[in-house]
């Protein structure tokens, strides 16, 4: 497998102002992700997982440090240039799908192409093809809200795929799904990574999916602690107990 580095972060710090205090969500992150990676970012709540993902996908400018995507320092770009870069190179999937309610499934999948300047009619064939890739073509003419959570997430993946991006970033894509649906989504990611050779970067709470990863990025308090999976697992277990206690 090629080890070509596609994403490189050096000394990335991201601070948020909360009242009068600065809180560091990322506290000096160095990271390299190669083109063939299926990277999973995991860790307890508030460790900075999502912030790291947003920094990588050009949505959250770091307070300091550099972010290179295939040699391009994306935060040297203006916001509009970065937005264009992001929509060209990244497919973005979030925990809940956000649909344009007036459009059906295939039209929603086609939206990234339409935003790029194509018409809906021109984009239909490609939309149906990517829906087929996630076995959702039979639902093409339904309203997305009519689908189950798992089905919606697979449509969401096909929407992320339509512009043939280098990198797919997914923030808790299985967070709202039952086990079966979540497994289907993970299997789809695996297939995209191994067969379609796309870089996958995924954020999750759920350590069950760690075996899918070729790069495991464990986080705690805004820094990467790749060698303490067990420790992080314990933290997560504690979190689960607290949640159960609360119930």
């Amino acid at each position: 497998m090629s080890q070509e580095t596609i994403i490189s972060l050096k000394g990335v710090v991201k601070k948020f102002e909360v009242g009068e205090n600065d809180i560091a969500a990322l506290n000096g992150v160095d990271l390299k992700i190669s083109a063939k990676d299926f990277a999973i970012i995991y860790g307890p709540s508030g460790c900075g997982k999502s912030t790291l993902l947003n920094v990588i996908s050009g949505l959250e400018e770091p307070t300091s440090g550099t972010v290179d995507i295939r040699g391009e320092k994306i935060y040297n770009y203006t916001e509009d240039e970065r937005s264009k870069f992001r929509s060209d190179k990244f497919g973005i999937i979030s925990q809940t799908s956000n649909w344009v309610k007036s459009l059906n499934v295939w039209e929603n999948v086609a939206i990234p192409l339409v935003l790029k300047g194509a018409t809906f009619r021109e984009s239909k064939e490609r939309a149906l093809a990517v829906l087929q890739e996630v076995n959702m073509e039979e639902y093409a003419n339904l309203a997305p809200a009519k689908l189950s959570g798992g089905q919606q997430q697979r449509v969401s993946i096909s929407r992320a795929l339509i512009r043939n991006p280098w990198i797919i970033v997914a923030d808790e894509p299985t967070g709202n799904l039952d086990t079966h649906s979540a497994d289907l989504v993970m299997a789809t990611f695996k297939k995209l990574n191994s067969k379609s050779r796309r870089t996958i970067i995924m954020v999750t709470h759920n350590l069950i999916y760690l075996p899918y990863a070729t790069l495991k990025i464990g986080m705690k308090d805004g820094i990467i602690e790749s060698h303490s999976v067990v420790e992080i697992a314990k933290e997560l277990e504690k979190e689960v107990k607290v949640l159960k206690g609360a119930k």
Binding site: S50, N54, L59, E60, D80, S83, K84, R86, S87, D88, I92, S94, Q95, T96, N98, W99, V100, K101, S102, L103, I111, P112, V114, L115, K116, G117, A118, T119, F120, R159, D171
Partner: protein, 399 residues
């Protein structure tokens, strides 16, 4: 994003909330319809009054007089000069005399209009009983207003037609060559017709009578212009010669001013309905944005530019404006036409001329359409700008 696709998406967005869209558009329809209805009433009444006040031909006639000047004379020389102006088609002359009409032992004061044929034509002067004077006839003919005969105590006016009438006339001094007034005593006329005017005592006689007795200047010269649009040019040319001019547009300007104010008042009344509609439209668009914050944020994440978002929301409000404008104009027009038809039918039924009290000039209808479009754009401006300011990451954070 292509503009055609923005329109398509905006249209689909409006269709998602059908009843909300219909009610919002209905508000604009009522607003535009109300303005159309009321202002068209203003235009209609103005047209009605204008047509009553002036006949079409009157627009071609300019009245010329010497004003109060004792130096400037409206004599034959002046008449020839004016007739020679290229814009002048022909002229009609009038000399106003004071005098008495005598029948038997009774006598009453009257104004005598001594006129030529052109003047009579321009003035559309006619008798209601009998005929109007033939200015070229050898007989000195006269037409009297009913008022004269009433003052003289005549009961059966029609019986007098064909009889001889005697009059004393005075030619005032500014009409004569030597600037001395002249009297004509016991001038004999043949009564040929009567005008049904019981308010003013006056008579029409041939101009020859006054001129033979020494009137060298005219009281009024009616000038017919060859091109209606050149009236102002002609008036300026004549006024530069020192004469005063009058034209029906002077009266019309006053009428227009009154109706201008009326139309504004009616327009404002309609605009109140429009303001209510606009508040409703603004409310709808703002709520629609709030409902779609996540949608907007996510569109930005997957590549929508600020321009796309701005246009999407603007086009939605413009579409509401356009639909409201078209339906408002059409419905307003249908209601006006119906009322016009009903009133005309009733008028004809009761033996009157058919009248139209509503009139919509095409430029006003076009103006209303542009207004609706503009209102749509302006109302959508705030929600559209607010949509542009949506921060995409906030959408992800609040999941």
């Amino acid at each position: 994003m292509k503009l055609s696709q923005i329109f398509l998406l905006a249209f689909k967005n409006l269709l998602v909330k059908k009843s909300r869209t219909i009610f919002t558009v209905a508000g604009v329809v009522i607003g535009i319809g109300a303005i159309m209805f009321l202002v068209s009433l203003g235009y209609g009444l103005q047209k009605l009054v204008t047509e009553q006040v002036v006949q079409f031909d009157a627009f071609y006639i300019v009245d010329v007089n010497a004003g109060d000047s004792s130096v400037i004379k409206l004599n034959d020389e002046a008449k020839n000069k004016i007739t020679d102006i290229s814009l002048v088609e022909k002229t009609g002359s009038d000399v106003d005399l004071a005098g008495k009409v005598k029948i038997g032992s009774s006598a009453t004061d009257a104004v005598f209009y001594a006129i030529d044929k052109n003047y009579a034509d321009f003035d559309k002067a006619k008798a209601d009983t009998g005929n109007f004077i033939n200015t070229e006839s050898k007989d000195n003919e006269i037409v009297l207003s009913k008022s004269v005969l009433n003052l003289l105590g005549v009961k059966d006016a029609a019986a007098l037609i064909g009889t001889e009438i005697s009059s004393d006339l005075i030619i005032v001094k500014n009409l004569t060559a030597d600037n001395n007034s002249k009297n004509i005593t016991d001038a004999k006329f043949k009564l040929v017709g009567i005008i049904n005017d019981e308010n003013l005592p006056y008579a029409y006689i041939p101009i020859r009578v006054a001129q033979d007795a020494g009137a060298v200047n005219l009281s009024t010269l009616k000038v017919k212009v060859s091109d209606r649009n050149k009236v102002d040019t002609l008036r300026k040319t004549i006024e530069n010669m020192g004469y005063k001019t009058e034209h029906v547009s002077d009266t019309l300007a006053q009428i227009d001013q009154i109706f201008y104010i009326l139309k504004i008042a009616l327009g404002i009344t309609g605009f109140i309905a429009m303001v209510v509609a606009l508040l409703g439209m603004f409310n709808t668009l703002t709520i629609s944005l709030l409902e779609r914050m996540r949608e907007v944020g996510y569109l930005k994440i997957i590549g929508a530019r600020n321009r796309d978002i701005f246009l999407l929301f603007s086009v939605e409000s413009i579409l509401i404006g356009i639909l409201g404008g078209i339906f408002g104009i059409v419905i307003g027009f249908v209601i006006q036409s119906s009322i016009n038809t009903i009133i005309s039918t009733m008028a004809v039924k009761y033996g009157a001329f058919p009248i139209k009290i509503f009139f919509t000039p095409y430029y006003f209808a076009l103006g209303m359409f542009v207004f609706a479009l503009l209102i749509g754009f302006l109302t959508g401006l705030y929600p559209a700008r607010r949509a542009v300011r949506v921060k995409p990451l906030d959408v992800l954070r609040y999941e």
